[in-house]
């Protein structure tokens, strides 16, 4: 384990941090990140990459597999030692909290970008692949494909997310649009066609019918009927790609979007108006990912190969938080296991 030093400069001055004594956090922040600058295959890993847990003191501590291409993480809510990772090598599985790992998939699956566990059927894990999707129904022991209804081409899948209110209901973001299954991937149907890749899909923690989807060229999409129909948000630019979207679990009116070109955009009125929140970020504000702490509403932004930044005033000001030189593929907020 290697501790990555974080920067505390300005921490005490943050308005949010200075507010009333916070309740004990109910989530851990895990980052899927690469820290090795300009890494190419064959070069030595000069710093640990993969999974980083943000400790109470603000430090990012690496755990588990040292691997530069860890894209997302899913954890079994019944047993947090059981974790699933989408990585360049396929799906990695640990059953001992990250001490040992097994590449769960074989040669015929590569470069999954997302992995998601159904909270209502936690032995079912979805693995979004560049050529479709695999679904494990036995807690990661086998990974058969489940692509009936997906097109032969156009099924490049960047993201798959489960409806937390209904087991087996999953929305998948593909090159050709958003697809829906309501039977745990036994069949899929196209519900919103696009010409370029859907980059992220999220379900509101406040309203299970409300979903957002970021896209490469269709801007930010919203669905208010559980993903059945989608419209484009005005106020969010769409000429260039949006990379991901986040809901604020502490405030139903607040969302944030990341973009290489546009940096961070936020809304605090449920999407009616959007504001650029790049002041205080590095000048080129190349934002690869945003995340919002579900306990505090703290906004995180990962600036490509620069650092993770945090904001306790929802983007009005930013403080460098750590993981300098990193590419953050995902912010994962893991609920603490029930005691």
């Amino acid at each position: 384990m290697t501790k990555i030093k974080t920067t505390f400069l300005g921490f005490a001055l943050c308005a949010g941090a200075a507010a009333a004594a916070p309740a004990a956090p109910r989530h851990d922040l895990i980052l899927c990140a690469q820290v090795t600058n300009n890494f190419v295959v064959g070069s030595k890993l000069t710093a640990p990459s993969g999974l980083f847990r943000r400790e109470a003191d603000g430090a990012y501590r690496h755990y588990g597999v040292n691997f530069p291409f860890v894209f997302n993480l899913a954890v079994d809510p019944r047993n947090p030692d059981v974790q699933y990772v989408a990585s360049l090598n396929g799906a990695l599985v640990t059953r001992d909290g990250g001490r040992t790992w097994r590449i769960g998939t074989s040669w015929d699956m590569t470069e999954p970008k997302d992995i998601f566990l159904d909270p209502n059927a936690p032995d079912t894990i979805y693995l979004a692949l560049p050529d479709g999707i695999a679904v494990s129904r036995d807690a990661g022991h086998t990974w058969p494909r489940a692509e009936k209804g997906l097109p032969g081409r156009g099924k490049y899948m960047q993201v798959a997310k489960v409806d937390r209110t209904r087991a087996g209901r999953v929305l998948a973001g593909c090159e050709s649009g958003i697809y829906l299954t309501e039977n745990a991937a036994k069949s899929w149907r196209l519900i919103f066609p696009t010409k370029t890749t859907i980059t992220d899909i999220r379900q509101s923690p406040h309203d299970a019918k409300l979903w957002l989807a970021s896209t490469q060229s269709n801007g930010l999409l919203v669905s208010r009927d559980g993903g059945e129909s989608w419209t484009k948000f005005d106020g969010v630019p769409s000429a260039e790609a949006l990379y991901n979207v986040a809901f604020d679990a502490t405030n139903p009116q607040r969302y944030a979007v990341s973009s290489w070109t546009y940096g961070v955009r936020t809304t605090e009125d449920g999407g009616r108006t959007w504001t650029e929140r790049n002041a205080g970020l590095p000048e080129d504000h190349v934002v690869f990912r945003v995340g919002i702490d579900p306990d505090t509403g703290r906004l995180y932004a990962a600036v490509y190969k620069d650092a993770v930044f945090r904001s306790d005033d929802f983007g009005r000001s930013w403080t460098k938080d750590g993981l300098e030189g990193s590419i953050v593929y995902n912010f994962v907020f893991l609920p603490h296991p029930a005691k």
Binding site: Q34, N38, F39, V40, V41, G42, S43, K44, L45, V65, N66, F67, P68, F69, L88, N89, V93, T100, W101, R102, I103, S106, W107, T110, E111, K113, P130, D131, R153, Y156, E175, T197, T199, Q216, E240, A241, Y243, W260, T261, V286, F288, Y304, I327
Partner: protein, 629 residues
Amino acid sequence: MKARILSLLSLGAILAVSLRAQPAFSGPMPSPAVVADAGLRRAAYFDRIDEVLKWRAGLPVGAGELLKDTAIIASKLARHEDADLCSRSIIELMKEPGSGPFWMFPAVDIAYLGRGQLSAEAEKAIRDAWRSAMQIRGDTENHWAMYYTSLYLMAQLYPDDPADSWYTGKSSQENMAEAREYLISWMDLATTVGQGEFNPTHYIGEYAIPMLFLSTWSKDPGMRQRGQMMLDWLFADLAENTLNGVLHGANARTDDTSVIERWNALASFFSWILFDNTVPPQSYGGWGVYFATVAKNYEVPEVIYRVAVDRGADYVQHDLKRTRRRWRNSDVLSAPVYKTNYTRRDYAVGSYQGGMADPIQTHVWDVTWAVPDPRGVHNTMFSMHPISSSFDMQTYFTELPDQMIKGVTKEGKASYDSPDKLLGGSRFEQVFQNLDTIIALYDIPPGTRFPHINGFFSKDLVNLTVDPSGWIFAQGGRAYLAYRPLAGYELQPLARIKSSWTGERADTGDKRLYSPHLKNGTIVQAASADEFKDFAAFQAAIRALPLEFGLEPVPTVKFTSLRGRKIVCTYGKAPVLDGKKVDYSKWKLFEGPYLNADKGSRKLTITHGRLERVLDFNTLAISDRVKPE
């Protein structure tokens, strides 16, 4: 960006070492005479191997110092030298294992070569590294060939080890089964619908070395045979596409140096060591050392040797290949590549139909002329559209759109986002070749990054003449060349990329034909100096050739070639040759005087004169015969 990129870091270190004692690199060109005696050929092959190993094993090491890299260790182990020093060095090196296929195959090399030489502690150090360090599989075919061959062989060394003793979390038997399945799948693809990274100037090593290891060390006779057969397949394809040992275009992948100095590539190491028909590049191309450590276990078949060195007549070969895997933006996972190679004594013309075989390093067509000594010579001519596009990157890579162009320029592909680059294919280029005539048409949409054409005019051309007719005439070696731009242009000095990693440039005297017109085209007609009384006669013959062309609404050319063939090319349509539409769908996997295979057959027939070798992957049989007169 990420795993897609060839790691040349270790290679860079190797190239930086002393040039001393590389006699073949600095010595005279080998004799072009065919060596008929198999024993003499074999002995000379062994001598070349020994030259490589002696040089690499003999690089100076400070007194009391450990060896710093696996190449010198492998060379010493191959020569049965300094086993104790090798053991101690390995123990140190394995404390920080590398992270992917470029580390894995050298590790396998020293593990196998070290049997009976290394200490138990050194063997354990290697073994432990395969438990503790998660290896990156990468995302290209060459990565996977190295990765799975290495995993297969390493697991074979410890066949009964449990899952928790491997970074994969899988047992030795599971690792071997997965690796075997992938390797057979890849061989099936290559032998039915064509190789993906075909005719690569450098990546040939990333295939040949693993296949040599497989053919040498696999205990499974079937896998051993497959390794041997794939080696023959690769080397036969290399032999067919070389001109005096120099691999010419088209290439699925090359680099900024090799695309103009065609000899300066790892492929030339293989021509040298296998066929002795050129000189090796500096430091034997770096990776060549690993091939040499095991090369005595490969015997160059005479028929392949003859294809490389004994050319009685001009020949045309048509090959079927395939593009790199397309994740997005395409109706097919891998598109067919229809490749033409016309080779004569004085020059070779090679091409495929255009488009991208690879998103960054494709080289679609060129005329490459023969030279007495290729070192430092830019013996080639071509044009291309220097596209730089995140759309294209996303077609082939599983990445978000924006970081790719910025990232790739820092990962050994410095020229990618440069408007004067000479490396790369384009979706907006369509090429047709008949014998020594090339017609390349371009229809570039407005708004495309780098909306112009680059043509390469070598410093080594002589008699460069811009003719009032619109043709540009030049002579390269004994090849007469006529180049017809279809739109306005200017010839500019070209500072070529000297380092693919740093982007450092050097002025070499080459010129770039810069043509800033979206609808565009190039016609090139080559001929041998032997065919004409003098250069003026060639020019007169070219001027007399019937030529009509237009650029609107799309580029179109009607041209009667020097060979009397009537060619009609219209961008977006199938070419028409002598009134008949060219039907690529009927192309075989290989068709020509030397290599023949039906699509889907898994069976290659290599022929030279009366010699014939058949590689049959259906039965895993190699059969040789001397055909009756």
